[in-house]
């Protein structure tokens, strides 16, 4: 039985609950540390439940429009405003709902993991405040229908993640990574503000649907598009703007890294949302599609080749994260390149997009899992250098199994989820351009090679004397990893059901510009 209250207000609650919990966190932490743990866990569970509920309602009942400050929650265009949506509007369609599912899954497991992994550090009240703030900002980024509101959440996520990356101030290097990330992120934010100024100056609107309905695609809009791609691809960590990624991912605490992956993908979502909904057919789809494809192929190739020589386990995984982002850009870029051509879109474009979008959720889950296992290893062993590890499989059996699941999934081996989405990308991209598909496969093989090496050097071999007394990771950390590992297998065993129920509606929502506009502006 779901109370009427939730039926009306779930999208706003999904942002409000983590915010409220975040600001109460320091107060509760002043009195009791255990109470704070329980509070953070309860807040994360409530946020995930709300996000899943919102997503479920969107998947069953269509796009959900929520207007802040209006008299009725779905009154997007007040009768006396002259047909213009004036308030801050959340518009959760199937694509946003998919991102909400990702945030719900990864957010909860990461918090569960973090409560055990980071529990003994100092200064925790600020840590969990920032953590919940980051979750709230990701939720806001993916569900907002307002360009300026997107910018605000974008900046909050930049601030929160930079502070989290630099959280281990003692090290110095972490602050260096945080500084690098933050300068890049601020610059990206300024670009977004420029885009808002350009679009607002021309069309007198900030609502994405309103802007899209007035879009003329003038010279200024082209400049805005370049700035959008520059800003959001930077935050998503695509080559050639990837230089912050390895540092930030490697030096942040592992639980933060897993959430940073989701934050990057929220930027990727923003990129797709703006290109498909704001510009859609008005732009030269083939050119922009090829831009995304080239960014994607570069990311895939540079990411994986840079990953192979790394010695730091998290740095290596960070380069793989760049490489996997390339697959998403490749898949969705292929769909965009054939956007104007209905025959080609139906033949393979749609499937390429579904593959790319499926890869977003798969990547968030298995990459989160891999970073969490890396964190568990570092937690027990105390070094990040793979050359100094070895034989850990004797003592950390569960961690080894989880790592293996994540590694096989990222390399695209059946029956794990990475295989399902990669196969969709290969098949459809092969019809578009065989060379691209072959590059994608080669990158996948290189990924497998790299992870075989990592697996061997961390877990295999004789038990090293210095790690004789290494124990298995704490139970809460194992549960956090276990949830993600179970989902990796589940998505890998039943890809067709997942694609039908989650991915196809999301891809259709992204392609269906008029539907997005109609749910805000009415009619049409």
């Amino acid at each position: 039985m779901i109370p009427q209250f939730l039926w009306d207000h779930a999208p706003a609650m999904t942002v409000a609950v983590p915010l409220l919990a975040a600001f109460l966190c320091p107060l509760i932490g002043k009195f009791t540390a255990t109470g704070r743990k329980a509070w953070v866990l309860a807040a994360a569970a409530a946020t995930s439940a709300l996000a899943l509920f919102t997503a479920w309602r969107v998947y069953t009942m269509g796009t959900w429009v929520y207007v802040f400050g209006a008299t009725v929650p779905n009154l997007s265009v007040p009768p006396d405003s002259g047909g213009i949506p004036i308030r801050i509007i959340f518009e959760v369609d199937a694509m946003s709902a998919l991102m909400l599912v990702i945030v719900a899954i990864v957010g909860f497991s990461v918090i569960l993991y973090s409560l055990s992994a980071d529990g003994k550090r100092s200064g925790l009240e600020g840590y969990y405040t920032l953590f919940l703030l980051l979750i709230a900002s990701i939720v806001g980024m993916v569900s907002t229908g307002d360009l300026f509101n997107f910018f605000v959440f974008f900046e909050i996520s930049g601030l929160a993640s930079a502070a989290l990356v630099a959280y281990r101030v003692e090290a110095g290097r972490a602050v260096e990574a945080g500084l690098k990330y933050f300068v890049v992120s601020t610059l990206a934010g300024i670009f977004m503000l420029f885009v808002i100024a350009i679009l607002y100056g021309q069309y007198n609107a900030l609502n994405i649907a309103m802007l899209a309905s007035r879009m003329q695609f003038t010279m200024l809009d082209k400049i805005a598009l370049v700035l959008i791609i520059g800003a959001l691809a930077t935050k998503a960590g695509s080559v050639p703007m990837h230089f912050w990624t390895p540092d930030a991912y490697a030096l942040a605490p592992s639980s933060v890294t897993a959430l940073l992956v989701v934050a990057s993908q929220a930027s990727l979502y923003g990129l797709f949302r703006l290109i498909f909904t704001l510009y859609n057919l008005s732009l030269n789809a083939a050119t922009v599609g090829w831009v995304l494809i080239i960014l994607g192929v570069l990311s895939m190739f540079v990411g994986v080749t840079m990953a192979i020589p790394q010695k730091d386990v998290k740095r290596l995984m960070a380069y793989h994260a760049i490489s996997q982002t390339g697959y998403m850009l490749l898949g969705v870029g292929t769909g965009l390149a054939v956007l104007g051509n209905v025959a080609m879109l139906d033949a393979f474009g749609r499937m390429a997009m579904e593959g790319g979008i499926f890869h977003i959720i798969n990547h968030a889950i298995y990459k989160g899992l891999l970073f969490l296992t890396a964190g568990a290893i570092i937690y027990r062993v105390g070094t990040r250098d793979m050359n100094r590890m070895g034989g850990l499989g004797h003592r950390m059996k569960w961690t080894m199994i989880f790592f293996m699941i994540g590694a096989l999934a990222i390399a695209g081996i059946p029956p794990f989820n990475g295989f399902a989405s990669k196969l969709m990308i290969y098949e459809s991209v092969y019809l578009f351009n065989p060379v691209l598909a072959i590059i994608a496969m080669v990158v996948s093989i290189l990924t497998l090679a790299s992870f075989v090496k990592v697996f061997h050097s961390i877990f295999m071999g004789p038990q090293l004397p210095e790690y004789e007394h290494v124990e298995e990771a704490p139970t809460a950390m194992l549960w956090g990893m276990g949830i993600l590992a179970a989902l990796v297998i589940l998505f890998g065993l039943f890809p067709q059901q997942v694609v039908d129920s989650l991915i196809t509606p999301a891809a259709n929502a992204l392609l269906d510009q008029s539907g997005y506009l109609a749910s805000i502006l009415g009619g049409a």
Binding site: A162, G172, V175
Partner: protein, 114 residues
């Protein structure tokens, strides 16, 4: 020409800000560059919202001329607030790095480059 002067200011500020960010190695100066760039964008938003002869949107006894929409000012205020938080965090990072490395020059922060 005269009407375009604010836009020219925006361009000049943008060029100054970007060139500081790209050319200077001192972290404090880079922070200043980011601030100048933010100010340029804020100025652009304000200038876009300016209407000659428009009055403030206060309805009590308003004369029959047209009012300006306060949205650009609201956007600008929000962006200033975000800018303050950004600057504070950047400067804190710079301070910590100075304490650890003894320098604020980005070219000398080499621990991550190995």
């Amino acid at each position: 020409m005269f009407a375009n002067l604010p836009y020219l200011t925006v361009v000049v500020l943008t060029v100054i800000g970007l060139s500081i960010i790209l050319l200077k190695r001192n972290m404090v100066k880079v922070t200043m560059g980011l601030n100048i760039l933010t100010s340029a964008v804020n100025l652009l938003i304000i200038v876009l919202g300016y209407r000659e002869g428009g009055i403030a949107p206060i309805y009590t006894l308003a004369p029959q001329t047209y009012m300006v929409l306060p949205t650009p000012q609201a956007l600008c205020l929000t962006s200033i607030v975000i800018g303050v938080a950004t600057t504070a965090l950047l400067l804190s990072f710079t301070m910590v790095i100075y304490r650890k490395y003894g320098t604020v020059n980005v070219a000398e922060m080499r621990e991550l480059k190995e």
